[in-house]
């Protein structure tokens, strides 16, 4: 007897929330997403112009561009993992701490004695393991993602401090192969930037061309529909956090290469930068929609701002204020775009 009213509530719910359309990477649906990327590219171009005008002598130099990309690489890898988790309807606050833990574990005296390859594998295993714990707690322990990963943030940081005795662990002379990821250049670009690019490409492929990616959109967009369509939502949720952990492990290798150390202080507040980049890139925090490319563009915008502030010798506090404003502006602009496109 409540048919018409139910239909009404449904349509009201559909129209009241942010209306979502178009998944880039799903064939012809890409239109809206490409438009959104155009906006991000425009913002990026604007920042480049600002750089060229204010510091013509040292903005467009090869060394500056390389330093921007190196800076972006570490958080960039984390951002790829965070994009998966957020499209899948979750959140991972533990990324910075897990990266720190992985860097510490991979640089202990014991691990270092096995050589650089083992160090890299160790970092990835630690990251994946921590992510798996997050995933188990969230998917099977039914903890809210925010809380489970907040607990992991605190605990991983603590474990990293305990293992390292709060000391910075320097990579010893036998294992300089790790550091060479940052110092060796191919075509003038450090290897770690290539690793970042590889992770981005792989992330895009997995998200857009595999069943795993399709299920990620389904689980984040409508978990009940995904469940009733026979998708193992819990298992998939767990895997998403493990994937995010793996990305943290890879990021740990990159930061070890850049700083030649493993430290419990690495990656402080990286979670905020990664989430901010994902949001600026147009991924909905409620899940079900988003792109890897958007997140990377969002991250580049963030990194470019940092770079411009440093080049112009401006206050880092002002830099933070600017970043805060950009997050708000990006979200407001996206919402306006969505409204215009709403049916």
């Amino acid at each position: 007897m409540s048919e018409p009213t139910k239909a009404q509530t449904l349509s009201a719910a559909g129209g009241g929330g942010p209306s979502r359309r178009g998944i880039p990477g799903l064939g012809s649906l890409g239109g809206v997403g490409e438009m959104r990327h155009l906006g991000l590219l425009g913002a990026l171009a604007l920042l480049v112009v600002v750089g060229l005008v204010t510091r013509p002598e040292n903005f467009a130099t090869a060394s500056n561009l390389v330093s921007i990309l190196s800076l972006a690489a570490t958080i960039g890898v984390i951002t790829v993992g965070a994009t998966f988790v957020i499209i899948g309807g979750g959140i991972d606050l533990s990324v910075g701490a897990v990266m720190a833990l992985a860097s510490v574990w991979a640089t202990t005296v014991a691990t270092q004695s096995y050589g650089p390859v083992t160090m890299a594998i160790c970092a990835m295993l630690v990251g994946t393991g921590a992510g798996l714990v997050n995933g188990l707690l969230i998917a099977y322990g039914r903890l809210v993602p925010f809380i489970a990963t907040l607990a992991m943030l605190v605990a991983a940081r603590g474990l990293a401090q305990r293992m390292s005795d709060r000391k910075t662990q320097i990579i010893d002379a036998d294992n300089t192969a790790v550091v060479e990821l940052s110092t060796t250049r191919v075509l003038g670009i450090p290897l770690l930037v290539y690793i970042f690019a590889l992770v981005v490409v792989l992330g895009w492929v997995v998200l857009n061309r595999t069943t795993f990616g399709r299920r990620t959109y389904a689980v984040g967009g409508n978990p009940e529909a995904a469940r009733l369509a026979g998708i193992d939502v819990r298992r998939h949720t767990m895997l998403l956090y493990a994937l995010s952990g793996l990305c943290c492990g890879i990021a740990a290798i990159l930061i070890m290469a850049r700083t030649t150390t493993g430290s419990s202080t690495h990656g402080d507040l990286y979670e905020l930068d990664a989430i901010a980049a994902v949001i600026i890139g147009g991924t909905l925090l409620t899940g079900g929609r988003g792109t890897i490319m958007g997140s990377i563009l969002g991250l580049l915008i963030f990194t470019l701002i940092t770079n411009l502030f440093i080049l112009n010798g401006l206050n880092t506090s002002d830099q933070l204020i600017a970043k805060g404003l950009i997050i708000v502006a990006a979200v407001l602009l996206q919402r306006r775009n969505l409204k215009e496109r709403a049916p």
Partner: protein, 494 residues
């Protein structure tokens, strides 16, 4: 006391109320009857200020009123007790009763005064034993009902609207509910009472108004003396003509599904039935009779005891398992439970059988698009572009896409829950034909609908459910709408 005239309420695509008249006198229990979709809930929401009518007048104590919001309605003295109780579980009884009109001064709640006042109201309802400081979430359904009623009284309501108040109550609790209603009416309060149980209406009601398809078809019948057959025929005999495809002329094939002793405490008990290949079996019953829940239990989406055997094999009781075994469900709430609204028609169709389109996890998108296109053509999904976002399609075409999802892979059994909800009349006929064609191809179909004519017109065999048990099973050909409604409402097996 209350006179509603010519109330019209239009929603996108459906005219929920199309000229309803209602006249309620002070101190009476006025019963509102009608089938699912007749407009009862919408009418209540108009009175509660949730919906504003597009046309018509409401007069209360000879003055025209226009409840523009729930607060307006409460100020007028209208209190509504909804089917699903709208209490805040985490708050105390007293806090719930005075929610929105707290005993407060400068924003500080006077808790002692609230508790005293709450106790008074509860005692007036004959339930002094409910502690005003108890947490509502821990109370029984019957006690919650009393709290809802206490809230209505705390507003000094002159007109109380009760939407299926007895649905959540046990038998002796219903008696207590009736006692409270009689006390209220003795004080001159008017009660609008909605129930599907005719025997209750005979017991507590004074007069009856019958709604059908958004119109009033009978006003002020005597609740006690009007014969059941008259009431039922007023509720049925609809204007909309349904076009059903011809039923199967050949005998159904082998047994596809066997359900034995399926039970879920408090929802349904000891349900057993079979579905054969090429057969459409319909479940008829009211909301709350357990019909959707049985479907979910068969599908593995709801825990239950008992055996579910598909094609001779007992299935693992999880959706992942039943889908792998060849079941598919088109759920009741299409948008909330079935669709990925952001995604293309193709992505929605292939969601249930992604592994079939992938090698080592790598999607073959060309194959995906081809299959989606083939199904879109077969089911005549319009517009015929499977790359469109599914949210741009009409309800009927969205429903076809949900059906298409389960035509991929080798499905043996389709579970359809309200397949034509929110679908316009023309598209319904098409859906009926599609469903019949599926059965012709040898798929077993288990169908749930709140519309009795739909179940009778489409199904080969019908199970009638009432309060979680099967009270009748038989060929659809041997049943008519009248008889089924009679069974559903009176609990009499024909």
């Amino acid at each position: 006391m209350l006179v509603m005239k010519g109330i019209v309420k239009q929603f996108p695509g459906v005219r929920a109320l199309d000229g309803v008249d209602l006249d309620v006198r002070a101190g009476e229990v006025h019963c509102l009857l009608g089938q699912n979709g007749a407009g009862k809930s919408t009418l209540i929401k108009v009175l509660a200020g949730v919906h504003q009518p597009d046309a018509g007048t409401i007069a209360f104590n000879d003055a025209e009123v226009r409840p523009g919001s729930p607060i307006d309605a409460i100020r007028l003295g209208f209190a509504t007790i909804y089917q699903e109780l709208d209490l805040v579980d985490g708050l105390s009884v007293a806090e719930n009763i005075f929610l929105g009109h707290e005993h407060a001064r400068f924003g500080f709640v006077n808790r002692a005064a609230a508790r005293r006042a709450a106790r008074e109201v509860l005692e007036r309802l004959g339930h002094g034993e409910i502690s005003p400081s108890a947490e509502v979430g821990r109370l029984s359904p019957a006690a919650k009902q009393v709290v809802s009623m206490a809230r209505a009284l705390s507003h000094d309501a002159r007109l109380i609207i009760m939407d299926e108040p007895s649905a959540a109550l046990a038998h002796d609790e219903v008696a207590n509910l009736f006692r409270i209603i009689r006390e209220l009416t003795a004080q001159g309060v008017a009660v609008v009472y909605i129930s599907h149980r005719l025997e209750e209406i005979r017991e507590i009601g004074d007069r009856v108004t019958v709604l059908k398809d958004g119109r009033t078809v009978a006003v002020g019948l005597s609740a006690r003396d009007t014969p059941t057959s008259q009431i039922v025929s007023l509720m049925t005999g609809r204007n909309v003509e349904y076009v059903f495809p011809a039923k199967a002329d050949r005998a159904p094939g082998d047994e596809v599904l066997r359900v034995e002793g399926l039970s879920s405490p408090g929802v349904f008990s000891d349900v057993s039935f079979t579905v054969r290949a090429g057969e459409i079996v319909g479940l008829a019953g009211l909301v709350g009779s357990g019909r959707s829940e049985i479907l979910e239990a068969v599908y593995g989406a709801r825990p239950a005891t008992g055996r579910v055997v598909l094609d001779g094999q007992e299935v693992r009781r999880s959706v992942v398992g039943t889908v792998r075994h060849g079941m598919g469900l088109a759920p009741e709430e299409r948008k909330a439970q079935a669709l990925l609204l952001d995604q293309s028609v193709t992505a929605n169709i292939t969601l249930g059988s992604l592994p079939g389109f992938a090698r080592f996890g790598w999607l073959d998108r060309k194959h995906e698009r081809e299959e989606a296109k083939r199904l879109a053509e077969m089911l005549d999904i319009r517009p015929p572009d499977p790359e469109r976002p599914i949210r741009t399609l009409s309800g009927g075409n969205q429903q076809k896409a949900v059906l298409a999802r389960w035509l991929l892979g080798s499905r043996k059994l389709l579970l359809l829950d309200e397949p034509t909800r929110g679908v316009d009349v023309g598209a319904r006929a098409e859906l009926y034909a599609v469903i019949r064609n599926l059965a012709e191809e040898g798929i077993g179909v288990l169908l749930v609908s709140s519309e009795v004519p739909e179940v009778l017109g489409l199904a080969d065999r019908v199970l009638v459910l009432r309060e979680g048990t099967v009270i009748h099973e038989g060929d659809a050909a041997g049943l008519d709408e009248h008889g089924v409604l009679d069974m559903i409402m009176n609990g009499r097996a024909a």
